[in-house]
């Protein structure tokens, strides 16, 4: 059945990007125009009825987001990852919320964290942030540390604060020197005993 399914996907959607990740996990990459067609096909013909998750990866160097839709069969034994690329600037894709109710909150999350516009989702408001006006925080051009330095104050360290890296380096060097000194002393002692024995033998 799997081979038939793969064959159909390859021929219908003109993609070679079909992969068996595990014996219960498959992955396919499609162009975002054909995404919904593929999901409909899997849902209607191959029993992939549940949308588990929508995840997003930010490929800033290539200039796109990789959206992954995960579908599971009704008997919960097989999972299909359907990956599609969308443009990073002006990121938008059609919403799935009218077909899978659970997609609404997943899309809301991605909208908040990556700024992706899911066209057709009527409830794209903030999920866990409040009054956020900056770049969406999970986009990789958002510099967290810079944001923190600009907006928040850190506690100043104590006067007797020690740089742990420098301190541990110093302690390690000290320990090493000690060890070497002990080794040298031992060798010297050994040499002495040998000398003593030689002297004894000489007598």
């Amino acid at each position: 059945m799997e081979t038939m399914m793969f064959k159909q996907i390859k021929s219908h959607f003109a993609t070679d990007d079909v992969e068996v990740k595990r014996n219960d996990l498959y992955k396919v990459g499609v162009r975002h125009e054909r995404l919904f067609e593929l999901i409909h096909m899997l849902r209607d013909e191959y029993d992939y009825k549940t949308l588990n998750a929508i995840t997003c990866t930010d490929w800033i160097e290539e200039g796109h987001f990789a959206l992954t839709y995960m579908l599971t069969t009704e008997d919960r034994k097989h999972t299909f990852m359907i990956q599609t690329m969308i443009n990073r600037e002006d990121a938008h894709i059609k919403s799935f919320s009218h077909e899978f109710k659970q997609a609404e909150i997943m899309e809301r999350d991605l909208h908040e964290m990556y700024g992706i516009d899911f066209q057709g989702n009527k409830n794209l408001k903030e999920l866990s942030l409040e009054n956020w006006v900056h770049t969406p925080p999970l986009r990789r051009e958002f510099d967290t540390l810079e944001f923190v330095n600009n907006n928040l104050t850190f506690r100043e360290g104590r006067d007797d604060n020690i740089d742990t890296k420098v301190e541990s380096k110093r302690l390690r060097a000290l320990k090493k020197a000690e060890k070497e000194a002990a080794k040298k002393a031992k060798e010297a002692a050994a040499a002495e005993t040998v000398k003593d024995e030689e002297v004894k033998d000489g007598k």
């Binding site: 009054n131 967290t144 928040l152």
Partner: protein
């Protein structure tokens, strides 16, 4: 030292709690004594440190032997515990809750997150120094502090209350502009959270 378990532990913990002599008058002394011996802690937890509070207040560590017990609402509570990292969204609720509490009120901050951000030091969504936004009476450090540490923090707080030194709520009233300015800097002009039910009832629910 004679070892007799629990009693000995309590003796060690309380130590010189009863020997303070810095009170101004006997009325002051009595007031402070009553306050330190009946601390009602708001049943409210933020962040991961809230997990250490149930054992502190239940039979294993039994904070009630020291006069510390839970309270259901902010209006009935004396102490609020900020137990761990504190995101902007939580900070709004903490400020609202703190301002609802009646005087005298005390704030106990747990964990390194409230001291300097802890492991969330570079997080875009958590504050780093709690004392910029709310007055803190006692910090208990650790990540997370064990119930023993929390109890010791409480004892230290009780001692300060007994001596009349714990007066952070007065500090908050006197320096309200300072705190409000800092709160607005991270939360925007509308600091208080909105309590309408539209997240639940409209727009497709949560």
């Amino acid at each position: 030292m004679e070892h007799n378990g629990f009693l000995q532990e309590q003796k060690t913990l309380e130590g010189d709690l009863n020997s303070d002599t810095s009170h101004k008058s006997s009325v002051d002394f009595l007031m402070n004594w009553f306050r330190k011996r009946s601390i009602f802690v708001l049943a409210y937890g933020t962040g991961c440190g809230a997990i250490e509070m149930p054992p502190t207040f239940t039979s294993r560590y039994d904070a009630e032997r020291l006069g510390i017990r839970g309270a259901a609402t902010p209006r009935q509570a004396d102490v609020i515990i900020v137990s761990g990292y504190c995101s902007y969204k939580t900070l709004r609720r903490i400020i609202r809750t703190y301002e609802q509490m009646s005087n005298p009120k005390y704030l106990l901050a747990l964990g390194s997150c409230t001291v300097n951000g802890g492991m969330y030091w570079d997080s875009y969504n958590t504050i780093k120094k709690l004392e910029d936004y709310l007055p803190v009476d006692m910090y208990v450090n650790g990540c997370m502090p064990r119930p023993e540490s929390i109890l010791e923090g409480f004892i230290a707080l009780q001692k300060e209350i007994g001596e009349g030194k714990a007066s952070s709520w007065q500090k908050y009233e006197e320096n309200y502009e300072f705190y409000r300015k800092n709160q607005e800097a991270v939360l925007g002009e509308k600091v208080e959270p909105s309590y309408d039910a539209d997240w639940y009832l409209y727009d497709g629910g949560l």
